[in-house]
Structures are given as C-alpha cells and as structure tokens.
C-alpha cells in the first residue's frame, strides 16, 4: 500500500522563518546562550538542531554546543516493531549536568519519542532544565508532554502521515501531509 502526498503545508521559506522564530524564542526564554545546549533526536532532529545553532550564532554571535541523541534503546515499542531498528550514534560532546538542554525533533505526535529522549538524556547526567523544540506539532498526544517551541501547529488525522523533509536528509526542505493512495 503506497503513501502519496496530499498537500504541502510548509515550503523552504516557511521552514526558514519558523526556525528563525524558534531560535529567537529560545534565546528570549533563556536570556541568551549561557549554559545553553541543543540536542537533536535522530534522524531529522539532528540537522534541525544544527540549523538552530547556526541561527543562534547569526543572531547572538555565540556558539552553542550541539549533541546527537539516539533513543532506540529507550523505546517502549520494541517488541511491536517487526525488525530491530539500527542503533545509531549518540554523541553528546559536553556534560549535560547544569545545562539548559533544548531537545530538537521534527514532529511531535504521541509524545513517546520525547518521553524516551527525556529518559535517555537524564541517564547522561542532570540537566538544569530540559526544553523541547519541534518543527511541527501534529497533536494526538498519548502522554502528558508538550513542546516549549513549535514551528507550526498542524491539526492532522491519525490516518495521515506528516512527512518532514530536509535538505540534509531528503534533498529538499518541505513539510507534506501524506495519505494512503486509496484515501486520496
């Protein structure tokens, strides 16, 4: 069964504006870059975190450390996945203790990925606080989790897929809603 694009809800410019706004909001909320760190969640949270760091450097002239988090070993649905997902690199080249860590992901949906990321991060140390930045919040939460910074709130139906595409991973910047072919 094939998934097909139904509608594009964000293009390159829209994504750029959303990321710039999130960068400003992170700086405003945290009063600058002191003790600030960004951690991208595999896969697409990683380039998004790097982009935010780039924006922050542009705005503030300061470098913010960027880490990479793989949450595979923290998922709560391993036994329901047909094939074991590949465990990828977790690289946090700084001590998270006493830092304000902004977790970055592309889509916030059920909240289970964010829950796993919180556990994974807390096992690495004791951050002063953790915030969550997502490009798209599509609703349908199954856990009491909300994002601190949201690029776009996108009401969606459960039978749809919200596909975030990035130049770094997919060759293009876009957010697209997909549906099954027969539902189109």
């Amino acid at each position: 069964m094939a998934w097909v694009d139904k509608v594009q809800v964000m293009d390159e410019d829209g994504m750029k504006r959303a990321m710039t706004r999130i960068a400003h909001e992170i700086l405003e909320r945290n009063r600058g870059t002191e003790n600030l760190a960004l951690v991208g969640i595999h896969t697409r949270g990683v380039p998004l975190a790097r982009r935010l760091a780039e924006q922050i450097r542009h705005i503030e002239g300061a470098d913010v450390p960027v880490g990479v988090l793989d949450i595979t070993l923290y998922r709560d649905d391993l036994t329901t996945i047909a094939h074991q997902p590949v465990v990828r690199r977790t690289e946090i080249p700084f001590d998270v203790t006493e830092k304000t860590v902004v977790l970055v992901d592309d889509v916030l949906y059920t909240g289970r990925t964010a829950r796993a990321a919180l556990d994974a991060l807390i096992d690495l140390g004791r951050p002063a606080r953790i915030q969550l930045a997502v490009l798209v919040d599509r609703g349908h939460r199954e856990l009491p989790i909300r994002a601190d910074f949201v690029g776009r709130n996108l009401p969606s139906a459960r039978h749809e897929i919200v596909s975030v595409r990035l130049v770094e991973t997919d060759g293009v910047d876009a957010v697209v809603i997909q549906v099954k072919e027969e539902d189109l």
Binding site: D70, L73, Y74, L78, T79, Q84, V86
Partner: protein, 315 residues
C-alpha cells in the same frame, strides 16, 4: 489469554552468519560500549524480560559478562549453575530447560560441555537461546568480541592477518573465530602442535603452520588460545614445558611481533603456559579491553535478539 507464540531468534554460532549481520552486531556494540562512560549504567531496553544463565560448566568470566550485559539493559537476570545436583536427581537437560522456560524466561544463555546443546534447546523451548560455549563447537560471543576488539583497534578486519595459536582442536573459541574472521575477510593462520590441529582447515582457506617464530613477524593480530588442561586427557599435548618452548608467547617472541600488532587472549590466562606475565603489560595486548568489549558485544546481541524478527542473528 494465550498470546500468539513469538518467533524467537537465537545465536548458536558464527558459521554461516552473513557479514552484514556480524557488522550490525559490531556497530551496535560500538554504541552499547558507550555505557561505560555514562553516569547511569542502565538502559531500559529489556525491562520486564527474564534472562537465565544456564551453565553446565564452571565459568566466571563469561557468566559475569552476560549477567552484567543483561542487568545494564534492565533484564531480570537469574543464574542457574547446574552442578551435579540436578543430574544426580535424574533431571534431563530438556526438562531443566523447559522448567526454566515455564518460569517465563525470555532469553536463555547456555553453556554446556556437549556440542549441539544450544541448538537442541532452541528447538524445544520458547525463548531466545544464546550459545555461551558448547563443547568443541562454538563460542560465538567470544569471537564477536575478538572481532570487535580488532576492528576497534585497526579500523577494519578485512585484509588483516590473524594468527590463532594453541590447541585448535579442542577450542570452540578458535572455531567461532575462524568462521567470523573468514566472513569478515581476514587472512587466518593457525599455529599449534600437529596433534592439536584438526584436519581439513586448509580447505576452508585457513593456513596451518607449526613454526610460531616464522609466523609472528607477519601477524597483524595474534590470538593466544588458552590451553585447557581439563581437555587434555588424550595425551595429545606434549608436556607443558615442551609446549611452552614451541608455542608460548614469551618475552623473546614478543620481540618478533610487529610494533602495531595486537595480542588477544580469551582468558583466563595460564600464565607461564601459553603466555608469560610480561605479555599482560605489553602495550600491544588488548586483553583487558577484551573484557570490557565482551559486555558491550553481549549487550548488542541481547538487543538484536529480543525485539521480534531481529533476522539474521539466527545462524
């Protein structure tokens, strides 16, 4: 109430295991190894799963390594060391294993003096079976940790010249290593007394040599197998002094080894038999690193076996 039976994956041996599968285990182990540097040495991956170490042979190292790997991944670990007691009571292997499975074991790690026991268990119990050494057959996690240690130090296994020294005939470590090394594209040479080299190795592409001094200068890795005295009852081993004269890694032989070579030993070493104590302090020795890597590799195997169709670790 009856959940549909899951298809269980097992790790019985490296023979026939595809290269991609070995590589994936090693890649995963590179990640699980990071736990050694972490504040909290605990991953929730196997939470709620029961892992039983069923050991019919004494073993401290391998059992401890599996136990730690299971615990760090949050499994509930039970050690069952089957001494003579159950055997004396007349309980058969299969009965013991079925009892353990009935207690809810999801993973059974088994070591047994008879080859084929892990395979047999994998057919009769509903749990993932991991071979922790069966007779003279295989010891796959030991070979995987050796491969991991080599790859970590050298960047790759392909093209390296790996020399296995000692009692090849009785060694399950050697067997698993040979399968894994050949699959990964290494050149393999075995060296030992002619009585302790099994026939037919050449047909697999393994070189057989009897002169260690001639082989050492061209080795990238030398893996000094343990002389298992408990397995030397047939008079195949010359006496220990003679063995030492020809096949031990001595101080003189350390000088024949290239500066960038690696020295491995599966432990526990018989110091003064297959290696001299000075080997442990040699900068080329990775013997302690092997212990650390053993936990990481076993964590990776546990992860890959326990999530549905891990696929491929079934060899």
């Amino acid at each position: 109430m009856n959940p549909s039976p899951r298809r269980r994956e097992h790790l019985i041996g490296l023979r026939g295991m595809p290269k991609e599968c070995i590589e994936r285990i090693l890649d995963t182990a590179a990640e699980t190894k990071q736990i050694f540097g972490r504040a909290v040495k605990k991953l929730p991956t196997l939470r709620g799963q029961v892992m039983v170490n069923l050991f019919y042979e004494p073993s401290t190292r391998t059992r401890t390594s599996f136990e730690l790997a299971g615990k760090w991944m949050s499994a509930d670990v039970v050690n069952v060391t089957v001494s003579a007691s159950s055997v004396v009571k007349g309980e058969s292997l299969i009965e013991t294993a079925q009892t353990i499975a009935a207690l809810g074991a999801d993973i059974v790690v088994v070591r047994h003096p008879a080859a084929g026991v892990p395979r047999l268990l994998s057919r009769v119990i509903d749990a993932s079976v991991i071979n922790a050494g069966d007779g003279m057959h295989e010891h796959p996690t030991q070979a995987l940790l050796d491969l991991f240690t080599i790859r970590e130090a050298k960047g790759t296994v392909r093209g390296l010249h790996v020399v296995l020294v000692g009692d090849i005939l009785h060694s399950r470590v050697a067997r698993s290593n040979i399968w894994g090394l050949l699959t990964m594209g290494a050149r393999v040479t075995v060296v030992g007394p002619p009585t302790l080299i099994p026939p037919g190795l050449e047909s697999l592409g393994v070189r057989v040599r009897f002169d260690l001094d001639a082989v050492l200068p061209e080795a990238d890795v030398v893996n000094m197998l343990r002389i298992q005295r408990e397995r030397q009852k047939d008079g195949l081993l010359p006496d220990v002094r003679e063995y030492r004269a020809f096949f031990a890694l001595t101080e003189e032989r350390l000088r024949l080894l290239r500066p960038d070579a690696l020295i491995l030993h599966p432990g526990p070493a018989n110091l003064g038999v297959e290696i001299v104590p000075q080997v442990l302090d040699d900068p080329r020795a990775r013997i302690h690193e092997q212990v650390t890597n053993g936990v990481a590799v076993r964590m990776a195997v546990l992860y890959m076996l326990t999530g549905g169709g891990g696929r491929g670790v079934a060899a």
